[in-house]
């Protein structure tokens, strides 16, 4: 089976600074990988490059073996959920935040029901009454899980996660691990959390924009 994501000798420069240098790796469906390294080593830039937010200086990025172009980027974005350390919910209430993507033309016909919203929230250890809460009144950990719930409601299969467990307690973290135990979901994450790293089958180590090491172990 071809890889879902493939970086081939990718170099990226931003503001005259090299942020990725000859990075090559591949990730297959269902694999859970973590990018590990010091601050500023280029971990988040790998995720941003895949999403078309950094122009490539050289090399190629492939998604399902199709090169990253201005046309294929729409497909990549429609299959991918990106969840940052401080996710932007982009709406006043949690309910509106969850339904936000369903206002966009591409998802308009799939608007979920309230019971589907509650079901996803419960999977992530979030109470149903959070739906009516103001987005700016909820904690960082809740925001991360709401952003994750949004990805699940959209049926995304590739998750790009940037320190997604940083604000979670043990119970919420467990719920997130359970969600990602689904073999259909592929994860490329930026992580420092040892517990998260244990759940990842592949660890890519980055240093100054270079991929210095790749470790594979039992869990995928």
């Amino acid at each position: 089976m071809p890889p879902i994501i493939r970086f081939d000798q990718v170099s990226v420069t931003a503001h005259e600074k090299v942020i990725l240098s000859n990075v090559s790796f591949a990730l297959f469906q269902g694999e859970k990988a973590a990018l590990f390294g010091k601050s500023g080593s280029g971990k988040s830039s790998v995720l941003r490059t895949l999403l078309g937010l950094h122009p490539l200086q050289s090399g190629s990025v492939y998604f399902q073996e199709k090169p990253l172009t201005s046309v294929s980027i729409q497909t990549i974005r429609s299959c991918t959920a990106y969840i940052g350390q401080e996710p932007v919910l982009g709406a006043e209430t949690v309910r509106e935040a969850l339904l936000l993507p369903f206002q966009f033309k591409v998802h308009r016909q799939y608007r979920p029901t309230d019971s589907q919203l509650i079901e996803v929230l419960q999977r992530l250890q979030l109470p149903p009454d959070i739906l009516n809460q103001q987005s700016n009144r909820i904690s960082g950990g809740e925001k991360q899980r709401i952003a994750l719930a949004r990805g699940l409601l959209l049926g995304k299969t590739l998750y790009l996660l940037d320190e997604v467990t940083s604000a979670l307690d043990a119970q919420s973290k467990q719920a997130v691990f359970e969600v990602f135990s689904d073999p259909q979901l592929t994860v490329l994450s930026v992580a420092h959390d040892p517990e998260w790293l244990q759940h990842c089958g592949i660890i890519f180590e980055l240093d100054a924009g270079r991929l210095t090491e790749m470790k594979r172990h039992g869990n995928t």
């Binding site: 503001h15 122009p55 172009t69 996710p87 993507p101 966009f104």
Partner: protein, 263 residues
């Protein structure tokens, strides 16, 4: 009814009035003499030149010359909008010019040809001051629209990127910022219409009354110009922002750094 002339000694007396704010500013420690002096000098020279030019323009009343004057005003407004909005003219000059030219020409033509109906539609006495007034207000609106839109987009880069990641097209992702910028651009005109005559007497109406017009006629012209300012500002801002979207982003919907002037 003739307007009383202001003789040269009286004009000199008028400049003397500036001494009062100048002294007050100096007393509170604001050393603005140079700026105030330059501004008053520039205003005087510019208006004298405009006076000479308008006198010639009215005397010749040539459609091509009138058109050329409006073209010059549009080019100056175009560059001024982009400079004040912090955007690079080499990328946006054509888009902004198209937006303001189309809206100004449309609203001025509508006002002059359909509403005022002078013998010659190109009559300098009508089209030059009316187009100038509409353009002046349109300029303010466009500066606000562009500046607000691009600064909000840079400030809320994560929010914009999140919308894209959630499946939004470029237009869907910028729409909240677009709406806010248009609202900010037309709000001053809406507020000005709502308080017109109550808070202040509008400049054009005052000018006409001083020029000897009947107050009722001055009121009608003021209403006409306000409606045209509102219409052209709204149209120009929407077209301008829409056109700029095709220029300011790369093929991956990311805002290009090089199109914005460094602060």
């Amino acid at each position: 009814m003739e307007t009383l002339d202001i003789a040269l000694p009286q004009m000199a007396m008028l400049y003397g009035l500036c001494l009062l704010p100048w002294i007050l500013l100096w007393l509170i420690g604001l050393r603005l003499s140079r700026d105030i002096g330059i501004s008053i000098l520039r205003m005087s020279i510019q208006l004298i030149l405009v006076g000479i030019y308008l006198k010639t323009l009215f005397m010749l009343n040539n459609p091509w010359l009138n058109g050329l004057w409006i073209l010059v005003m549009l080019i100056v407004a175009d560059l001024s909008i982009l400079k004040r909005a912090g955007l690079k003219a080499r990328y946006f000059a054509l888009a902004t010019f198209t937006a303001i030219a189309s809206s100004i020409l449309f609203s001025t033509a509508y006002l002059v040809i359909l509403v005022i109906q002078p013998t010659h539609f190109y009559d300098a006495r009508y089209i030059v001051p009316l187009a100038g007034m509409i353009l002046g207000n349109c300029l303010q609106g466009n500066v606000i629209a562009l500046e607000r839109f691009y600064s909000a987009l840079r400030k809320n880069e994560n929010e914009y990127a999140t919308f894209l990641m959630l499946g939004a097209t470029r237009w869907e992702a910028v729409r909240p910022f677009f709406r806010d910028a248009i609202k900010a651009a037309i709000n001053p005109t809406i507020a000005s219409m709502a308080t017109m005559g109550l808070v202040s007497l509008p400049g054009m109406m005052t000018g006409q009354i001083l020029g000897g017009s009947e107050p009722w006629l001055a009121v009608k012209y003021q209403i006409a110009i306000m409606i045209c300012i509102f219409t052209s500002t709204t149209i120009a801002c929407i077209i301008n922002l829409k056109f700029s979207l095709a220029i300011a982003f790369n093929a991956f919907d990311v805002l290009k750094d090089e199109v914005i002037n460094k602060p």
